[in-house]
Amino acid sequence: MSNRVSVQLFGITREIVGTSALTLDLPKTGQVGELLSNLKEQYPALTGLRSLLVAVNGEYAELNQPLHPNDEIALIPPVSGG
């Protein structure tokens, strides 16, 4: 069974990371917060954003939310629609 998850990237996070999707190992805790910390470590420019949320299966997620291999994960930088 795969322990990898796919993370979709949009807007400035897509430009910072340089791709519109990443495939990552699930973090040890299996939680959103650790995934986000790992990404910020790997791409320090992410820490300069005004906010950076994580969506799991189309809903804004808490940092302690557990992740599962088939989850649809996305980084959500500050939105600016309208």
């Binding site: 300069g48 969506a55 189309g58 600016s80 629609g81």
Partner: protein, 136 residues
């Protein structure tokens, strides 16, 4: 009806969609591409959306508006891709029996959309570009 489109937004189709004999008031809000931001000339905008989640959030917002006000019909249409000055980026249309509800619901929808819906806008200037509100 909520939608995200790369095509120009058709206000007549939106009006047809929300028009109903039970409505005495219809409000439209158009978000349009302004030629400047804080007096710096803008050349064009690029909009990007996380479509699946954006549509779900737009629907949630519409449903919440329907709980709070007597909304009989609505349309929330957001465009994405390259937009020129003057283009319509978003159209919110709301039909209600009486006008206070039409104003309140329309304003709630656009205010909440701007806070919650995963759509991003990049301003292209003559000498650079910036993702709006991305940095503190």
């Amino acid at each position: 009806m909520v939608s995200i489109t790369t095509e120009p937004i058709d206000m007549n189709a939106a009006y047809q969609h929300v028009s109903t004999d039970a409505a005495g008031a219809i409000t439209f809000f158009f978000g349009t591409v302004r030629d400047n931001t804080q007096n710096r000339p803008v050349e064009r905008l690029e909009y990007e959306a996380y479509d699946r989640m954006a549509l779900a959030k737009m629907q949630e917002i519409a449903d919440e508006a329907g709980q709070r006000w007597d909304v009989r019909k609505y349309a929330i249409i957001h465009r994405k891709g390259n937009l020129a000055i003057g283009d319509i980026a978003v159209l919110i249309a709301v039909a209600t029996p009486h006008r206070a509800d039409a104003f309140d619901a329309c304003r709630y929808i656009i205010d909440t959309l701007k806070q919650q819906v995963p759509i991003w806008k990049k301003e292209i200037f003559e000498d650079g570009q910036v993702w709006v509100d991305a940095h503190p």
